[in-house]
């Protein structure tokens, strides 16, 4: 919320990420998915069910909103949560009406498309080949895409945040993970990375915004 040159809509969308809760929820789900996959693979069972928890990511907004009603809204106020960018696309397609505003002037979040999808695809991509360079390319392409896609949007990443993710992803090569098990350590790393980002933001947010004694009401 420091960028006062941004449009009110972009600032409202950025406000959704002020407390790190969207990252924490998504991080938990992705870590859980990767963890289940590892357990199922170790037990010799079909690990296809490990991807089921990822379905929660299509309903994460309700969970995040529930948590925000207890943590964020009493501290810094409520603004209508941003809609997902893919919902805007589907609205445009179904109604055949172009959006009324430009992309930077909408209360929209691209988190699912520009962060979660590259993270999950980056992890799945590693199952396509045994070669180390193939893995490396996948990790750095996913990270580069995340940087470029988000840099002017509501949730831009600092270079070192993504560099950490790329290093962690690259380090997995040294573990010599079997091909069949490959997406799961990647998912665990991606989820842990999101959790760490979100956790850090939440700690900072709670420290800088102590809870007000009562609502700053009376209009």
């Amino acid at each position: 919320m420091e960028d006062y040159s941004a449009s009110p809509a972009l600032r409202a969308a950025a406000y959704w990420f002020i407390d790190g809760l969207p990252e924490i929820v998504a991080g938990l789900v992705i870590t859980l998915s990767g963890g289940i996959g590892l357990v199922l693979w170790a037990a010799g069972l079909s690990s296809v069910f490990a991807f089921l928890p990822l379905a929660v990511l299509w309903k994460d907004r309700d969970i995040v909103d529930f948590l925000k009603a207890r943590l964020t809204y009493p501290r810094t106020g409520y603004v209508r949560p941003p809609i997902n960018s893919d919902d805007v696309t589907s609205q445009t397609l179904t109604t055949l009406m172009p959006p009324r505003r430009s992309a930077s002037d909408k209360n929209v979040t691209h988190f699912r498309n520009n962060t979660l999808v590259p993270l999950i695809l980056g992890a799945v991509y590693t199952t396509f080949s045994e070669r180390a360079w193939f893995w490396l390319v996948g990790v750095w392409v996913a990270v580069g895409a995340m940087y470029l896609l988000n840099r002017r949007l509501e949730r831009p990443y600092r270079w070192w945040e993504l560099f950490t993710l790329a290093l962690a992803g690259s380090a997995l090569i040294a573990m010599n993970v079997p091909l069949a098990c490959r997406p799961f350590p990647g998912l665990v790393v991606a989820g842990a990375w999101l959790l760490a980002l979100g956790g850090g933001k939440l700690a900072l947010y709670l420290r800088t915004h102590p809870r007000a004694s009562q609502e700053g009401d009376p209009a």
Partner: protein, 104 residues
């Protein structure tokens, strides 16, 4: 009075005030926000925001409703259709005035 002076005199005074214009612009962009968010976002004091919101509500530009999010009481503010129309009309008039300004 010349045409441009007439146009300026006809601007909606409710919208023309900077604090109220700021509130309307924020609400137009975000759809719905509570008192605390508007206060932080616009840099208003509690009393200042209250009085401007009261004027906007009186003019029928803003709807204010008390509601609950879980157990949290919220004072939610949103633009009415009339408020949206007033803001569009104001920006159209302002643009037309400023576009006629001599270029230096």
């Amino acid at each position: 009075m010349n045409g441009q002076a007439q146009q300026i005199a006809n601007l909606d005074r409710i919208v023309h005030e900077p604090a109220r214009l700021s509130i309307l612009t924020i609400l137009d962009a975000v759809g719905e926000a509570d008192f605390l968010y508007l206060q932080r976002e616009g840099g208003f004091t509690q009393g200042n925001l209250s009085s401007h919101l009261a004027k906007l509500e009186e003019a029928g530009y803003v709807e204010i409703k008390k509601t609950f999010k879980g157990k949290l009481p919220l004072t939610l503010c949103s633009l009415t259709t009339r408020g949206e129309r007033a803001l569009r009309d104001y920006s159209r008039r302002m643009l037309s005035i400023l576009q006629k300004r001599p270029v230096r």
